[in-house]
């Protein structure tokens, strides 16, 4: 279901509010559409829209299209666009805002692998205080594409031979404290 113009407007507004909160975020309005970001982006070729087009879409009131595309999820956060942008827009941070908004609103194409991975990652930190690599990979392939996971077996065996696969996960000692900290953020956010 495509969004109505009002819905898109509200979405853009919410997005901009978040962007303005990041340092230098208000510079998003200064974009001159020069294409430096898209030309610098290592994954631009695989993106349905380049980074530049995100701002063009925002201005045109078509931001919803960006959430339907693979664009934001292909950002590898290499920060090349950020350091090069002649308008000083912290574009990598803007991409993160889009990811977060997408996750929050469930606005991403079904099975977007990064969103799945991010959720497992967050869950792992909540449980153990650290990321458990093996668990992450295992769950990731289970939830996205078990067949592809099978394709990873040879690499897994190689790593296993080198004793580079660690199965156990150690919980940090202060896990309770950490959970309280994260809960405090949630509480604060809920209040708003």
């Amino acid at each position: 279901m495509p969004m109505s113009a009002t819905e898109v407007r509200d979405l853009s507004k919410e997005f901009l509010e978040h962007v303005y909160a990041i340092p230098e975020g208000e510079k998003i309005n200064q974009c001159i559409q020069c294409g430096t970001c898209s030309a610098s982006c290592p994954s631009a070729e695989a993106m349905e829209y380049g980074p530049r087009e995100i701002i063009a879409a925002l201005r045109a009131g078509m931001l919803d299209r960006m959430f339907e595309s693979n664009t934001v999820w292909l950002c590898a956060s290499c920060y090349l666009c950020t350091v090069r942008c002649p308008a000083g827009i912290p574009f990598t941070d803007v991409m993160y805002e889009l990811k977060r908004l997408g996750v929050k609103k469930g606005l991403y194409a079904k099975g977007t692998p990064n969103a799945v991975m991010a959720r497992i990652f967050v869950d792992s930190v909540q449980r153990y205080g650290r990321n458990a690599e093996m668990r992450l990979i295992r769950l990731f392939f289970m939830k996205t594409n078990p067949l592809k996971g099978v394709g990873m077996v040879p690499l897994g065996l190689k790593l296993l031979k080198k004793k580079r696969l660690k199965f156990g996960v150690k919980k940090i000692k202060g896990i309770e404290g950490l959970r309280k900290m994260l809960a405090a953020v949630e509480e604060e956010e809920a209040q708003r």
Binding site: K27, Q30, I32, Q33, C34, G35, T36, S38, A39, S40, A44, E45, Y49, G50, R52, E53, R84, C85, P86, A87, G88
Partner: protein, 596 residues
């Protein structure tokens, strides 16, 4: 005047001349190898031998050492002379059988092979064995003229050779190149004297794309059009010797003792027209300037396509190849928060000019990478359209990176420009042979100091600030100081000329009046109230207040006072006031501003 006869021709020679010089002036060719204007005659090669008849006797003498004398009769082509030259040629040929200079000379006098035996191997250490004829010019110029004395002779007879002391690499040699420049057979090998590459002095005006001498013309249109001597590289200033240029100047116009002079001129008005500087390409490492030789700044390219430039206007790569494709990257450094925030205004048009010249001169494909084409001048848009007609490519997207990392065969050995074609939303890689960076304009390095010097202030970006953008575009806050040209902001030639004329007219109109109108804002001191504390004397930045010892009060010199009012603000007794800005007036203003 001395009257002599050469080969039957009567010649007027000058007192003190040698026969060789007199003959040369008269256009009579006497072959020689070891003669040089800056060196004393030495007679080493003996090739200039002539037959001279005086007082009835004839004898063979080297003409380079023979002074002219009244009534001398000289023969330069007699059988005796010819025979002597042949023998000399044979001797030289025996020593240097492979030297082209010697072989050509020998052939000229009819010698093709030598009857003499070749001297033993290892004749020379610093010279090419095949070439050195032991004329000693290198040793003499190094010693007598350059006053360095890095090389000398060693051994005698057939073992004689030119060497470094102890045959060790020299550390006294200054790598000036005088030895090789005088060597008649081009036999010197620098690296054997001192293993250090002779440095080319980069010619500033040509952006270092060609070299220059220590004495040079700064540029073709220099005013006054006289050469200058660069003291840092001139041999005379390094060793006290040389002065070869003086020997060569027939007008005797060169004076090494002349010093830089600073003249103080009293003037009534000043026009500041200090220009701009090109933004530094090195600050944008992603374009590979300096890393890739065929990435040029716009100023470098300007010289490259100029008829008087380093290639005489031929557009070619550093390797001397005609380019097949050229990329011009607009907005480099300009419109960029990390560099110059403003639009440099002239780059679009000069980039279009470059594109046109490349098309015209080489027929190469030209790719302009631009964000916006700004052509808002008279006839400018028409020029843009003409280029579109000429088939120049325009890619709307900032040229983002230049790399030599190739992905396809087509890109191999080329420079690849990466950009987004924003009209298509597609990332493009364009392989080219040359890249021109259209760099922005920035203020001069000392703009800040100059602005302080004249109290004129700088606008954002660092260019000088005009008094009013519309009503006083060439005036400054300092009366009598005017600004013109790119020091006020990036601008092209027509605008600069117009502004220059305006500034000159403004300066003239001020001078024409012959008097200056002062503002009616002055400090004054009420003698009744003054307690003589002298605080105002210390406060005044213009020494416009003096303390009158007799009256025990301070007094203002109205012609010196500029009316800042600092004295009034600091006066404890309320004696110092500022006309038109008196306390009561300001109080009234405050009251007015705060009235309900």
């Amino acid at each position: 005047m001395v009257k002599i006869t050469i080969d039957g021709r009567k010649i007027d020679a000058r007192e003190g001349q040698t026969v060789l010089q007199a003959a040369k002036e008269a256009g009579i060719d006497i072959p020689t190898l070891c003669h040089h204007e800056s060196l004393d005659p030495y007679g080493a090669c003996r090739f200039c031998t002539v037959e001279v008849k005086s007082r009835g006797k004839t004898k063979l003498v080297t003409s380079c050492t023979l002074p002219v004398a009244e009534g001398q009769e000289i023969r330069t082509r007699s059988e005796k002379v010819k025979k002597t030259r042949k023998i000399l040629a044979e001797l030289m040929l025996a020593r240097c059988p492979n030297s082209t200079v010697i072989r050509d000379l020998a052939r000229k006098v009819g010698v093709n092979r030598s009857r003499f035996r070749r001297p033993p191997e290892d004749l020379a250490t610093i010279t090419d064995q095949e070439g050195c004829i032991l004329c000693g010019m290198c040793v003499r110029i190094c010693d007598d003229v350059m006053q360095v004395g890095a090389i000398g002779f060693e051994g005698r007879g057939v073992r004689r050779k030119v060497t470094n002391p102890f045959r060790e690499p020299s550390d006294t040699c200054l790598v000036c190149g005088a030895c090789s420049s005088v060597c008649p057979t081009r036999a010197i090998e620098h690296s054997r004297i001192r293993p250090q590459k002779p440095e080319v002095i980069p010619f500033e005006f040509e952006e270092g794309m060609s070299g220059r001498k220590p004495i040079y013309m700064e540029f073709a249109q220099a005013v006054p059009k006289v050469p200058v001597i660069d003291e840092d590289t001139c041999m005379h200033f390094r060793t006290g010797g040389c002065k070869v240029c003086e020997d060569n100047c027939s007008a005797e116009a060169i004076d090494h003792e002349m010093e830089e002079k600073i003249e103080e001129i009293e003037v009534g008005t000043i026009i500041v027209a200090t220009g701009f500087k090109l933004y530094e390409a090195e600050k944008l490492s992603r374009y590979g300037y300096k890393a890739y030789p065929d990435v040029y700044t716009s100023l470098e390219f300007e010289r490259l396509c100029h008829a008087s430039g380093p290639t005489m206007g031929k557009i070619q790569t550093r390797a001397g190849k005609k380019p097949e494709a050229v990329a011009i990257l607009h907005c480099i450094g300009s419109r960029d928060e990390n560099h110059l925030e403003y639009c440099s205004r002239v780059c679009c048009m000069y980039s279009l000019k470059f594109a046109h010249l490349v098309r015209e001169k080489t027929g190469a494909e030209v790719y302009n990478f631009y964000i916006d084409i700004r052509s808002p001048g008279k006839g400018y848009e028409e020029f843009y359209k003409r280029l579109l007609k000429e088939g120049v490519h325009f890619i709307r997207g900032k040229g983002t990176e230049v790399t030599d990392v190739w992905e396809t065969e087509e890109e191999k050995g080329k420079l690849v420009v990466i950009s987004e074609d924003t009209l298509l939303g597609v990332r493009r890689r364009v392989p080219v042979d040359m890249v021109i960076l259209s760099l922005g304009l920035r203020p001069q390095d000392d703009a800040d100091q100059v602005s302080h010097l004249f109290s004129i202030g700088c606008a954002q970006g660092g260019f000088f600030l005009e008094k009013h953008p519309k009503l006083a575009p060439v005036d400054t806050p300092s009366d009598g100081i005017y600004i013109a040209g790119a020091c006020q902001g990036p601008k092209d030639i027509p605008d600069t000329v117009a502004q220059g004329a305006a500034a000159a007219a403004s300066a003239l109109s001020l001078m024409d009046k012959g008097k200056v109108v002062l503002e009616p804002v002055r400090a004054k001191i009420d003698e009744e109230k003054c307690c003589g504390c002298k605080l105002c004397v210390a406060n005044c930045p213009y020494q416009a207040i003096d303390y009158n010892e007799e009256k025990k009060v301070s007094m203002v010199h109205p012609e010196l006072c500029k009316g800042c009012g600092t004295c009034a603000a600091g006066c404890p007794s309320g004696a110092a006031t500022q006309e038109n800005f008196e306390d009561v007036q300001i109080f009234a203003e405050i009251e007015g501003a705060l009235a309900e």
